[in-house]
Assembly symmetry: C2
Homo-oligomer: 206 residues x 2
């Protein structure tokens, strides 16, 4: 799979295609056209075809795309044709909700460790995991070669945790704290910030 300069915006649509294909498949469909797939989230058929053509020729002229095959191709492109081990840092309310939510594992993200700096939480069980003390985090993550972490600590602690994660060898961080994180160029960060999403909507409902 030779991928050169594929626009990031195309990459960001692939997980959405995948989610849509999951839905469609549940309804018993096995084949879908670019037009149908596009309509399901408001994108033109041409864009669907153009996006997919960056990676190969997955469709059949005259009929469309085999849903199961397309799913497996997109999974391979996104490197999710495997399970990723994940570390969760922060065992507060949100961390608990995430640790107990089965949806991550269903999609191949397996939470292997939960860390917290609060001594009263350490040793407790959340979502099947014993909460471990933060001061063992760098060592543990490095030894387990974990590459993805989620941060659900208070904002004031988030940057320090991010620094530690980078030292531990993590390459992607999903950040639930509402602050920007400074990390080296080669580390990916995505921030979950529902307040920004709310503020986006209020513009339109004046």
């Amino acid at each position: 799979m030779v991928e050169k300069n594929i626009p990031d915006i195309v990459i960001s649509r692939l997980p959405i295609y995948l989610q849509t294909l999951h839905q469609i498949e549940k309804q018993g469909e096995t084949i879908i056209s670019s037009r149908e797939l596009g309509e399901l989230f408001g994108i033109t058929a041409a864009q669907v075809r153009k996006d997919l053509s960056f990676f190969g020729e997955f469709g059949k002229q005259g009929s469309g795309y085999n849903i199961d095959f397309l799913k497996s191709q997109i999974r391979a492109i996104l490197n999710i044709d495997r399970t990723w081990d994940v570390a969760l840092i922060g065992a507060g309310d949100l961390g608990n909700a995430i640790a107990r939510y089965p949806g991550f594992l269903e999609r191949g993200f397996s939470i292997e460790y939960v860390f917290d700096s609060d001594l009263t939480k350490i040793g407790k069980l959340v979502g099947g995991h014993i909460v471990m003390p933060s001061d063992t985090m760098v060592e543990t993550i490095r030894a387990a070669e974990i590459q993805i972490a989620m941060i659900t600590v208070p904002s004031r602690a988030a940057q320090q945790v991010a620094d530690d994660l980078v030292r531990a060898g993590v390459r992607a961080i999903l950040n639930y704290a509402p602050v920007p994180l400074n990390v080296p160029e080669n580390i990916r960060v995505e921030t979950v910030n529902p307040i920004i999403q709310l503020e986006h909507m209020t513009y339109y409902i004046k």
Copy 2:
């Protein structure tokens, strides 16, 4: 404030400017240039100026933008120079975490009601709110004229809840369920989907 056809992508950057200004202000700054503001999240100075110029002339030539003034202007543009009442539907783990999180209120989103269909949860207290039964939801939201709702129910129930919310007069929905919601044109929906964000990052860490 006469706003015609402002690109949605510009609107989506305003909450980020606002968040950045919050951070900067904490460090004691009172004035910021477009270059500095842009550097803080990887955008050119020209883009910052162009974005803001859609709404007015907020800067001072020779010096830059007064942070406090710019914040108040952006708040006014986004209609967050007020408090919005919000309804939360779903009192599971995630709903609990959201109800107990003070960050929404700090930014002007006040959770006024929490609903759940699970009889064992009704009447319990989460984040200072008594959980109310779902079958009173439409009536209650309509009477309180609530315009924003957050959905934290299981995926299978999300579309039904969304339909009910639309009937109740809600105009914006923050959806935490990993399914697309079908709503009328004039209703805004934003989905929080951390799995999609993880899948976006795994592309780059092969």
